[in-house]
């Protein structure tokens, strides 16, 4: 698989190293000649000095045969432009962009970027996981299908405790796919499964119905 990474900073460097270790063909496009040289010296001839937002650079990088195009510069605008060029000019099948400002994520998605990675949101999710006051956690975005996988921990005082799943006002199209119970085997719930306090539920939902799910499973 041929992967192009735009941005040869620390993130780009370690990402490149990890992907090379996996046996992938990787090229890093880096604006700074010094950084580019360092990468070439340490990882082999895998860096191209140039601007990933320029068509000529992407042509020289062989973007036309690229399988995955990843942008990890510190600049959201550069990440967006480079991904859009890759997507629309070179028909790259999969583009992934780093987003520094989480508010930009929606714009990236609207403009056709296949996947976004927001470090702010990732850290936030980890913090939420550590805090008992945040029992709903995002596990995975399935952007192309407009779905997300979330984990919900049922608070002891929730109105859903002791009720069957079919009795709950769950959002339309939502699926409760797995229940993990303390010191018991995980189970695939059916409509008649009774919810217990502190159940960890893995659910597949539409992102816009997150509040409905929260109300159905976590309200006092």
């Amino acid at each position: 698989m041929y992967i192009i990474i735009v941005g040869g900073g620390r993130l780009g460097y370690y990402l490149t190293r990890a992907l090379l270790d996996e046996g992938q063909e990787v090229l890093v496009i880096e604006k700074d000649a010094g950084f580019s040289q360092t990468i070439n010296a340490e990882l082999g001839s895998v860096s191209l000095h140039g601007d990933g937002c320029e068509v000529a650079t992407l042509e020289a990088a062989g973007a036309n045969r690229c399988d995955i195009f990843i942008t990890v510069t510190g600049d959201d605008e550069d990440n967006l432009v480079a991904c859009q060029l890759a997507k629309h000019k070179f028909n790259v099948p999969r583009t992934i962009a780093r987003v520094r400002n989480p508010q930009h994520e929606k714009v990236f998605k609207k403009l056709g970027i296949d996947a976004t990675v927001s470090t702010t949101n990732l850290i936030l999710e980890h913090i939420k996981h550590e805090l008992p006051s945040h029992p709903l956690m995002h596990l995975l975005d399935i952007q192309e299908k407009g779905l997300e996988v979330v984990e919900v921990t049922i608070p002891p005082g929730s109105t859903c405790v002791g009720r069957q799943i079919k009795e709950l006002p769950l959002p339309q199209d939502s699926i409760l796919s797995l229940i993990i119970r303390k010191e018991r085997k995980p189970l695939v719930p059916t409509e008649s499964t009774v919810i217990e306090a502190e159940d960890q539920i893995i659910a597949v939902i539409r992102p816009e119905t997150e509040n409905e799910l929260r109300a159905a499973l976590m309200s006092d």
Binding site: Y2, E25, L27, G44, S45, L48, E59, A60, A61, G62, N64, R65
Partner: protein
């Protein structure tokens, strides 16, 4: 000085002939010496590294054939190889490392770029990164 494994990168320039001849002369001084002649085809990133670039491969075969002929005339055997790489310098260094070469011998011409003497990109890289001795052979009549 004894050299048992000599690598001669050939690029199809006029200086190749002198480099092969010198390599043969050095090899003849040791009974177990081996000469390796390689030609590196730089492959654009728009193509996979193992792409079959027929005109380039044909040219490489001609260049290496010529090197073999020169060595034969001097009573030596040269092992030849065509390499495909993104950059020539690192490919030469990798080859020298893999084959445990103890001398890289390169024929050079006196190239000028904008009126200034210029070694190009490959030679400085080889000089900086070679795992063995490097000999640049410049012939005055080339």
């Amino acid at each position: 000085m004894e050299f048992y494994r000599i690598l001669v990168p050939v690029a199809g320039s006029q200086a190749d002939e002198g480099a092969i001849e010198l390599a043969c002369s050095l090899a003849k001084q040791q009974s177990r010496s081996k000469i390796f002649a390689v030609h590196v085809i730089p492959v654009e990133r728009s193509l996979p590294l193992d792409a079959e670039i027929k005109p380039e491969i044909g040219r490489a075969e001609d260049i290496l054939g010529q090197a073999e002929k020169i060595a034969q005339e001097m009573g030596c055997v040269v092992e030849t190889d065509i390499l495909q790489a993104r950059e020539v310098g690192p490919a030469i260094i990798d080859e020298a490392t893999e084959r445990e070469i103890d001398l890289i011998l390169i024929g050079v011409t006196y190239k000028k770029h904008y009126g200034q003497f210029c070694l190009g990109d490959v030679l400085p890289y080889v000089l900086e990164n070679a795992p063995c001795r490097v000999l640049l052979d410049h012939q005055i009549d080339v």
